[in-house]
């Protein structure tokens, strides 16, 4: 079976404060005269290398793993999953 790279991005839901993103925006980016930037959200990326039959099935598999093992906390975080062939 082929190998895929599956990327899971975990970030806080809208409305949940993100002090790291706010600090990067206010104390780094805006202080460097980049006034066109309006918002920065920080997050975490996990990249899974996984074997499977196709992109959809490996995305589903990683989604299931992330749900079952609480890789992200659903109260405050959301996850975005996307796969491509290695």
């Amino acid at each position: 079976m082929p190998e895929f790279n599956v990327t899971a991005i975990i970030e806080n839901k809208p409305g949940i404060s993100d002090p790291e993103g706010e600090t990067i925006l206010n104390d780094l980016v805006l202080k460097s005269k980049n006034s066109s930037v309006k918002k920065i959200r920080s997050g975490k990326i996990l990249r899974f290398t996984i074997v499977g039959s196709d992109i959809k099935s490996v995305e589903k598999k990683v989604e299931k793993i992330c749900d079952e093992l609480r890789i992200f906390n659903p109260l405050v975080s959301k996850i975005t999953i996307s796969a491509n062939k290695c």
Binding site: P19, L69, R70, I71, N73, L75
Partner: protein
Amino acid sequence: MKVAVVVFPGSNCDRDMFHVLTDVFNFETQYFWHQDKLPNNIDAVILPGGFSYGDRLRAGVIAANSPIISSVKKLANSGTPILGVCNGFQILVESELLPGVLLKNTSLNFMCEWTNLIVNNNNTPFTNKLKVGQKIPIPIANGEGRYFADKKLLSELKNNNQIVFSYQNRVNGSTEQIAGICNKDGNVVGMMPHPERAAEAIINPVDYKPSSLIFESLLKTLGVKN
């Protein structure tokens, strides 16, 4: 009367907790490694503070998948008193024995300082010798201690009297300054501050008595005369 102190890879307050339980309050105490099972004759379980698995992924989440947690859940469901302190609280939340989540402090700093707690609920196995409104001078030591509850959860916590402790002042951005909560039945309690670092006069520069009442409450719960 046997109290279990659970040790995870990265726990670092287990010995302080063991010392206070045995040397100060005369509990019969035993360490249990996270890969063990807890026997049925355990009367109370303490999950101590520390940095299980180096806080990787998110504080407490990897330890929450340890084999011992299924024993802890079994005892919790049968009404056994369970206390999680600091990382222990994070593990209780991540194992869904307690609701909500502990996020990075608003300052993003590791905070190590003395705070004042206010008792909100004295109807738990760990607070029954305290008074509602009583002040507890006690230290915190955490990086991910900002308790968060959304509107729905917050109203549930209030309706069920699940907010056990709150900070007297704004400390780390916690929702409504929450420092400790319990489950609906009241037997599972989690708190970010460290009572084991405050329950003896020699290490508490303010007043050790209120913190010692947390352990005396457990003695009372277990029917031990003190």
